[in-house]
Subunit: 300 residues, 2 copies
């Protein structure tokens, strides 16, 4: 699609890679580059140099791994805070980008950004209450309530909720803070530590998947009970595994046991628990959507 509008810069800041892009939406990505996440200095420098090679930009949107300080009144606004990721604790992401590029910068969590992308262009279009999850190296979740992204005191940290343990599962959990919180039970590293093999190597009939689906189903029940979303988008490795998502839907319905009478939770379950609509681009497109939402000029 031809588009001569001044584009946005977008950063999907992840724990293993950063994606930087320039564009205005799904049909107008004018440049895109990936960098491995190394030190904050090196990663931010690569990212800044990428944008310095581009033309004029309206603003930068960043969807970042976290925890990240989103409180504009805080002295550490825009910093990554208590992450266990080596070297990144107290890294000033927004400050570095803003001062180097002299552009307005919009920031949110990676998952809130991805959710905004999905609401604008993907699997949650037209919805006011939705959740975006990513299940992979960790477990993250973003929430929209009444059409606005949820932040509250800090920002949601879905991965650190707790669900009932499966009696057959004696694994102690992989979270360095909480042991067997949700992330400690279902993330990629948790699967690998429990079964002594990476998830990708486990066949579809391996008991790992039934266990994984059970924990995820409890987590999605808890989300439904606390946030009552109109749809839950499951991204990351799980969302791209249709057989696993089918198992999650079945277990979810079996746990809820018909208590909540809504079509979406009964016959409509396949449209309630869904894969992302933006196929791996939710995060980077969401970062564009963030910049657009906060700084977009009226002609956009």
């Amino acid at each position: 699609m031809m588009n001569d509008a001044v584009p946005y810069g977008a950063i999907e800041a992840g724990g293993t890679k950063w994606v930087c892009a320039v564009g205005t939406g799904p049909d107008d990505i004018r440049a895109l580059q990936r960098f491995p996440t190394t030190t904050p200095e090196e990663t931010l420098r690569s990212c800044i140099e990428f944008f310095q090679r581009q033309g004029e930009l309206q603003a930068i949107g960043i969807g970042s791994f976290g925890p990240v300080d989103l409180n504009h009144n805080s002295p550490t606004y825009g910093f990554i805070t208590s992450t266990p990721k080596v070297g990144w604790r107290n890294a000033d992401v927004v400050g570095a980008v803003k001062s180097a590029l002299d552009l307005p910068v919009a920031l949110d969590t990676d998952v809130n950004a991805a959710l905004l992308g999905e609401v604008k262009w993907g699997a949650a279009q037209g919805l006011t209450d939705a959740i975006y999850l990513t299940v992979g190296t960790g477990f993250g979740g973003g929430a929209m309530v009444n059409g606005q992204l949820a932040h509250g005191l800090l920002h949601p940290e879905f991965g650190h909720m707790f669900v009932p343990r499966d009696p057959s599962d004696t694994f102690g959990g992989a979270c360095s803070f909480h042991g067997d919180c949700l992330e400690g039970l279902v993330s990629g590293p948790a699967i690998e530590a429990r079964w002594k093999a990476p998830g990708e190597s486990l066949p579809p009939d391996h008991p790992a998947w039934r266990l994984e689906a059970g924990y995820l189903a409890y987590a999605l029940v808890n989300m439904t009970c606390l946030l009552s979303p109109q749809r839950i988008i499951v991204g990351g490795g799980v969302g791209s595994n249709p057989a696993l998502l089918t198992l999650v839907r079945e277990r979810f319905q079996s746990i809820l046991n018909g208590y909540l009478q809504a079509d979406a939770l009964l016959g409509g379950i396949e449209e309630y628990i869904v894969s992302p609509g933006l196929e791996g681009r939710s995060g980077i497109l969401g970062a564009i959507a963030l910049a657009q939402a906060e700084f977009g000029s009226v002609d956009k």
Copy 2:
């Protein structure tokens, strides 16, 4: 406080009693009456006759037990839906009140109403993101996110989330839909079924309270992870039990283990997990606040 404004009617519709009141706020309750919850016909008739004995009213606000249909586009808007409460399934509460009194009626869940009351006049004044819980006959929760009450697909049903079981607790749970969901583990009937004695009769050093605090702490951790509220108000029997609330705060901090770096969750925990500010009147004042928010004239 003298006030000659035309008042609101308010209904706190509970599973064991209904409270009806007329007024404009905490310092201006002009009439108040309680009715036991019997059949829908009888309870609604008592309530309607109470309002018919009052003078002019601007509107009626109702905070109701549920599940309740809050979707204005639904043919069963204003009905109580899949409640296990005998006789109340598919009771048309809003329709009955509206047609008998010919007044505008605002409806929300009992807990959302109570939360709105606490935000307006009680323990959550000035906050944009807060949770109100009631722990008693059941377990209910209402949530405000970015200054707006959360509804989503239906409305939150906090009591039916799941938390990890305490290995020492072999009780099967008291929820007729889910067995050992949160409500099935911590409600008054659950305590009584587990210990063969009502909670009121158990001394403060009874192991029931340590168990109760543990489950509640997990539940509050899940709420913090999913909604990131600025404050959690605990109403009902638990909120009025300061020793239990102290136990809950301790276990909450021990479970979170310092992962979320916010003063409110660390040194400020006594201001994060709190009792209601409106001392048993959150619900009925919240129903006034509901009517005021939806139908209040500009001079209010």
